[in-house]
């Protein structure tokens, strides 16, 4: 029987690897997810059914109750959540996995106090799982708006580093001393939880995707330590696979923003812009009304829409699709320019626009759309800011200098929809707004676009 379990674990491991590989291609992605899910069900079933030894009925009842409850709640939440809230949900589920790993360690500590190597696995699983849990909860709160500011304690970098060293040193002590004092384990748990909070709290909302991806690979590691503890192959392969893939994914995301990972973690945006306040570009801004925008677009040949975070927040993806359809029916060519980090997460904007049935071919990636801007009559920027800021090209002192941007300033006319003149995530002014060919359409994205649509319909 033991062999059958091991073989099933092997099959599950293969589905994880194959699933992740298929997830990397738009055409096979959904299949990949289903493969991995099927492998997971196999692994869970094998663990339950092929277990050797006496198990009390109450234990089975509790396990099935927990699985049933978790399945119902997890499924309902995942099905009901709005597309714009996906990122925080991923963070939430990631935290659950981390907490699960930490709980396993808490229970198992007492059973292995005489084996330092196993205590080491337990301590590692606990520390990494707890950091992932508390960090993910903070990321969750930041993304859903409960906590929308980066909170920076004085000298937070030093504080965090000291705390991290303390956690590691304490864990080493716990292993080396061979203690069976449970209180010490709880202290380690508390320290690790605190570190997770302090690790994420100074990082701004814009960088949360990177943080979630990093914590995602942490949870993978925590699962892998569980695999080491039990000599369980499926936990080991699944955990390490995610740990390694998650790290690469984190670096790829940083790459898309042209920022090194250390810069995200140790923070630079807030501090650099604070160094030179009031130095931003100044000049006159032009405000336009919805009616003028409607006229401009109606008589344009080519229109490019640049969607950003503001569009996601205002839930304006359906409105923008309506606008696109009206313009197309009037013979205007409409495309969407998608910056790699548009929205709340890389690729998030594509998901949002797909939800409102925007055709896949109309979404054009940055490298392909940039050469087309000089031939574009009107660019409509909706709720995007930093990804169209020319400072990335021509201001070496700017914190976003060197980040690849959408060169909308080359278009004949740029219309920027924003709620107010407040700077974007990076906390810096945008000289684009002061250009001669730029006009501002103030207001909530959904309301503003609907006004333009109404004006268009009257024409």
């Amino acid at each position: 029987m033991e062999y059958i379990k091991e073989i099933i674990y092997l099959i599950a491991s293969v589905t994880f690897v194959a699933g992740l590989k298929l997830l990397g291609n738009p055409n096979s992605a959904r299949k990949g997810n289903l493969y991995a899910a099927a492998g997971m069900i196999l692994a869970i079933a094998a663990t339950l059914i092929l277990h050797e030894g006496e198990v009390a009925t109450i234990v089975y009842v509790l396990i099935f109750a927990a699985i049933a409850l978790g399945t119902i709640v997890g499924w309902m939440t995942a099905r009901k959540v709005k597309m714009t809230q996906m990122p925080e949900l991923v963070s939430l589920f990631n935290g659950m996995g981390g907490a699960c790993a930490a709980l396993i360690s808490m229970i198992e500590f007492e059973h292995y106090t005489d084996q330092p190597s196993k205590v080491a696995m337990i301590a590692a699983g606990m520390v990494i799982g707890s950091v992932s849990f508390s960090g993910s909860m903070i990321a969750f709160m930041k993304l859903n708006g409960t906590m929308n500011k980066a909170i920076r304690l004085p000298k937070y970098n030093i504080l965090n580093t000291v705390l991290m060293i303390a956690v590691v040193a304490f864990a080493v002590y716990l292993v080396a001393s061979g203690t069976d004092n449970v209180l010490l384990v709880y202290t380690l748990l508390a320290l690790a939880l605190l570190y997770g909070v302090l690790f994420v709290i100074p990082i701004g909302g814009a960088d949360m995707p990177v943080v979630i991806s990093l914590l995602n690979s942490f949870t993978g590691l925590a699962a892998a330590f569980g695999g080491f503890l039990y000599g369980n192959m499926v936990m080991l392969t699944g955990g390490i696979l995610v740990g390694s893939a998650g790290t690469i994914l984190t670096l790829a995301m940083c790459n898309a923003m042209n920022r090194p990972l250390w810069n995200v973690i140790f923070g630079a945006f807030g501090e650099q812009s604070a160094a030179g306040p009031g130095e931003g570009p100044t000049g006159n801004i032009k405000e336009v009304m919805a009616g003028d925008v409607a006229i401009l677009m109606n008589y344009a040949q080519r229109v490019v829409i640049v969607p950003g975070y503001g569009l996601a927040v205002a839930q304006a993806q359906h409105a923008i699709h309506d606008l696109e359809q009206i313009l197309v029916s009037r013979g205007v060519e409409v495309k969407y320019a998608i910056h790699p980090v548009a929205g709340r997460m890389p690729g998030h904007m594509n998901v949002l626009l797909a939800e409102s049935n925007v055709a896949y071919e109309k979404l054009v990636e940055m490298e392909d759309i940039n050469p087309e801007f000089p031939n574009t009559d009107v660019v409509l920027v909706v709720g995007a800011n930093d990804v169209v800021n020319p400072a990335a090209h021509n201001d070496p002192s700017s914190p976003i200098y060197g980040m690849p941007i959408l060169d909308v300033e080359n278009a004949k006319q740029v219309i920027v929809n924003k709620r107010s003149m407040k700077p974007g995530y990076a906390g810096i002014e945008n000289e684009l707004f002061f250009h001669d060919n730029t006009s501002m359409l103030f207001g909530d994205a959904k309301a503003a676009i609907n006004k333009v649509i109404a004006e268009l319909k009257d024409m």
Binding site: L20, L23, A78, M86
Partner: protein, 105 residues
């Protein structure tokens, strides 16, 4: 203690090989994925590390039924692990559902 650790490594050397090889597999599998898929990919990987639930079930199965504290913690662990697995795969599927529709339109 050092001896214990060396012994542990020696006895579990296959796990060491798996560790190294899986790291390379993870790197290889993610390489050159378009930015469009970063979010679903992260979400999918998130669901896969839900495999930690297997550990939670093992803990529960070996728990002495009279140890109430361990039963409660184990119950919580299985519950949270299930949330991670089910929620993770369901969210990923919902994201990818949208990608699927596009070419047909």
């Amino acid at each position: 203690m050092l001896e214990n650790i060396v012994n542990f490594l020696g006895e579990n050397i296959q796990m060491g090989y798996i560790l190294i090889l899986m790291i390379f597999v993870g790197v290889e599998v993610i390489g050159n994925v378009p930015a469009v898929l970063h979010t679903p990919l992260m979400s999918g990987a998130n669901a896969i590390h839900g495999v930690v639930i297997v550990g939670a079930i093992i803990v529960m199965l070996d728990t002495d039924p009279s140890n109430i504290a361990a039963l409660v913690l184990g119950f919580l662990a299985v519950l949270l692990g299930t949330l991670n697995v089910v929620g993770g795969f369901a969210v990923t599927d919902r994201m990818l559902e949208m990608f699927k529709k596009k070419p047909g339109k």
